[in-house]
């Protein structure tokens, strides 16, 4: 789950990291009131889960409160990478002497949280990594001891020659590490970490991604989810405990297991089709999940055929079959459906399908070929 910038700034502030003032507004009037309260120049920043906000025109400097209102009016409701802006952050324009980067991610290879710092901040860190990798300094942290003071200070000196600033940065790094474990983050970035003309070190912008597996035990963090900032079909899927990702093709896929779902999409492509989605109904299936899955797939107007690929393990063939029959009673399908069903309770599942007038295949390749052919037949 991604957090908005203003939410990430809140978390950093709560963990004792110096963050310059800034508040969120949902209307141009609120934006104006905040700008009046702050006085002077303010920055108006779109709050969406997308990078490249500045380039898209979602970040604007306002000299007066009236100008802040005008900018907020333009930015609120704007679409950036398919997502509508619902909120803007209003923050006093900071005077910046330098920009650095500080981030923590969990690294697969070292199996540890890795702290990355770079004196080249303010820009996309992946760009820095690609062009000037020598400007990024990394440290794998031993989670048994946490980020030790001397380790943080060593990296602080990579950012600042001044000992006061290096110490301030080290303190921020240790607090950021505490925040990662405190909120269950899989990624926490301060970009840029700035120095102001008076020498203080502050977190100007922040990005935090939460590990979805943490949400159950952290209801306060789960409550930060902004459903309006996510694609509606993906929200519906999550509520039905399915994993769904919309793609640009026309063969709707419903599969059990992520690996098999990806292999099914690949096979659709192999046989000349284009998958409309990734959809994993998960392990222990029940008929209701299948109904929800079909509802989501059929709501995509691009779908010209539907492909079920079920290899029963924990998932039972009869559950899936019952779900398909129930769903097609509730909302008759307008496109052809091809069902591949094998594994646990396959015989029971096939019997249920046949009674309802469906046929089921046992071979994955054959099913994919048919689904692609049917999608194309309807298009022609």
């Amino acid at each position: 789950m991604n957090l908005h910038e203003y939410q990430a700034r809140d978390i950093l502030r709560r963990h004792g990291i110096p963050v310059p003032p800034g508040e969120v507004a949902s209307t141009p009037q609120e934006a104006r009131a905040l700008a009046e309260r702050f006085g002077g120049k303010v920055v108006v920043k779109a709050q969406v889960h997308a990078g490249g906000r500045g380039k898209a025109g979602g970040v604007k400097l306002a000299k007066t409160a009236a100008e802040a209102e005008t900018h907020a009016k333009a930015i609120l409701g704007m679409t950036i990478k398919g997502l509508t802006v619902q909120k803007v952050l209003i923050a006093p324009a900071a005077e910046i002497a330098s920009e650095s980067y500080v981030g923590i991610i969990v690294d697969r290879a070292s199996q540890r949280p890795v702290l990355m710092v770079s004196p080249a901040g303010g820009i996309d860190i992946e760009e820095v990594a690609a062009k000037t990798p020598e400007k990024i300094h990394r440290l794998a942290i031993d989670p048994r001891y946490g980020l030790l003071q001397h380790q943080a200070l060593t990296l602080g000196f990579k950012l600042y020659a001044d000992v006061k600033q290096a110490r301030a940065a080290a303190d921020i790094m240790q607090k950021l590490y505490a925040a990662v474990y405190g909120v269950g983050a899989s990624l926490a970035e301060i970009n840029p970490l700035v120095t102001t003309p008076d020498g203080s070190v502050q977190a100007l912008d922040a990005k935090i991604g939460i590990d979805d597996n943490e949400l159950e035990r952290r209801p306060d963090i789960a409550a930060l989810r902004d459903v309006s900032a996510e694609a509606p079909a993906e929200v519906a899927a999550r509520e039905a405990a399915l994993t769904f990702i919309k793609l640009d093709g026309y063969v709707g896929c419903c599969v059990n297991g992520a690996g098999l779902a990806m292999a099914t999409m690949d096979l659709v492509k192999y046989y000349g089709g284009e998958p409309a989605n990734f959809l994993d109904i998960g392990g222990s299936s029940n008929p209701q999940k299948v109904v929800a899955a079909l509802r989501i797939i059929t709501s995509d107007p691009n779908v010209r055929s539907i492909l079920f690929n079920i290899f029963g393990g924990i998932t039972r063939g009869d559950d899936v079959a019952n779900g398909i029959v129930q769903a097609t009673r509730e909302f008759p399908l307008k496109v052809p459906i091809v069902i591949r069903l094998t594994g646990t309770n396959e015989r029971e599942g096939i019997a249920i399908l046949e009674r309802a007038g469906f046929t089921a295949l046992s071979d994955m390749d054959e099913a994919v070929k048919q689904a692609v052919a049917k999608a194309k037949g309807k298009a022609a």
Binding site: L260, A263, D266, G313, I314
Partner: protein, 289 residues
């Protein structure tokens, strides 16, 4: 022979009285696995299915029943704790089926397990099976056949699909290992490749990877330097868009190093025959053996 589990495997089931644990404990028992004990705190003293003693702690189960392997079916919220407990009790092989363990929990679990000399398979995995000998986890026994192919995979049902292809064409398996789809796992491809390489019963290896991370690239390098047996490989997620999670927490492409194309190229450079689709596994193996 086989790797990791065989007839000598003495299994304790953590969460044996739960919904998933009890179902799969019965499945494993009917497959012939030596299920010697179970653990559910508060249910110590009971008998599961009238034969398997249940204990409050893993330590008691080890002391009383000489369990050497543990399988975990407990809910995600307590699964990390279950792994710690198994490792502390001296279990040598810990298989965690549970999915949804926070990655930050795993950053603490893995060094602990390692320090105690234990091997963890998973989490978020289907477990292992050495057909005809022992099954630990949830891989359906009826799709497997004893034989000479070693299978290692990051996926669940895709693994079943490949095993099914092998078995229906007369290619049995020595051991099938599902290593799990999470970003932080205890046993990786290389551990399994090394095991299959020295296992006299394994004649060829099938390796099933996914987009995300660089485990497959490292496995390819290891294959080139240290594996003499034929290896056939598959990568799921060729059509996955970059930057999106594909269900598995691990299957996310970030940067260029996680793409299917890059992994398939690494396989080819290492002399691994690359399947374009699951059905290619049998012809490619026959070509190489």
């Amino acid at each position: 022979m086989s790797i990791f589990i065989d007839k000598a495997t003495r299994l304790v089931v953590q969460g044996i009285t739960g919904r998933d644990g009890s179902f799969h404990a019965k499945q494993m028992m009917s497959y012939g696995t030596q299920v010697v004990s179970g653990v559910t705190p508060g249910k110590g003293g009971q008998l599961f299915e009238n034969v398997v003693p249940v204990f409050n702690t893993v330590a008691e189960a080890v002391r009383e029943t000489q369990a050497n392997t543990a399988v975990i079916y407990v809910p995600a919220a307590v699964a990390a704790s279950a792994i710690f407990e198994a490792a502390d009790a001296g279990i040598g092989l810990i298989v965690c089926i549970t999915e949804g363990i926070p990655v930050l929990d795993m950053t603490r679990v893995l060094p602990f397990v390692h320090e105690r000399g234990a091997r963890l398979v998973g989490p978020n995995c289907p477990g292992l099976i050495s057909p005809g000998k022992s099954k630990v986890g949830i891989i359906p026994g009826n799709i497997c056949k004893p034989g000479k192919i070693g299978v290692v995979s990051r996926s669940g049902t895709l693994t079943y699909e490949i095993i099914h292809q092998l078995s229906t064409h007369g290619l049995g398996q020595s051991t099938c290992v599902g290593i799990g789809g999470d970003p932080l796992i205890g046993t990786n491809f290389i551990h399994c490749l090394a095991g299959f390489e020295v296992d006299p019963e394994t004649a060829a290896i099938v390796m099933i990877g996914e987009i995300g991370g660089t485990d497959e690239q490292q496995a390819a390098e290891f294959t080139k330097s240290s594996v003499t047996k034929p290896v056939v490989g598959f990568i799921a997620g060729q059509t996955a868009p970059p930057g999106r999670r594909m269900g598995h927490a691990g299957a996310i492409i970030s940067g260029s190093s996680g793409t299917a194309a890059e992994k398939m190229a690494a396989f080819e450079q290492a002399g691994i025959s690359v399947m374009q689709r699951p059905a290619d596994v049998v012809p490619l193996l026959k070509e190489r053996m």
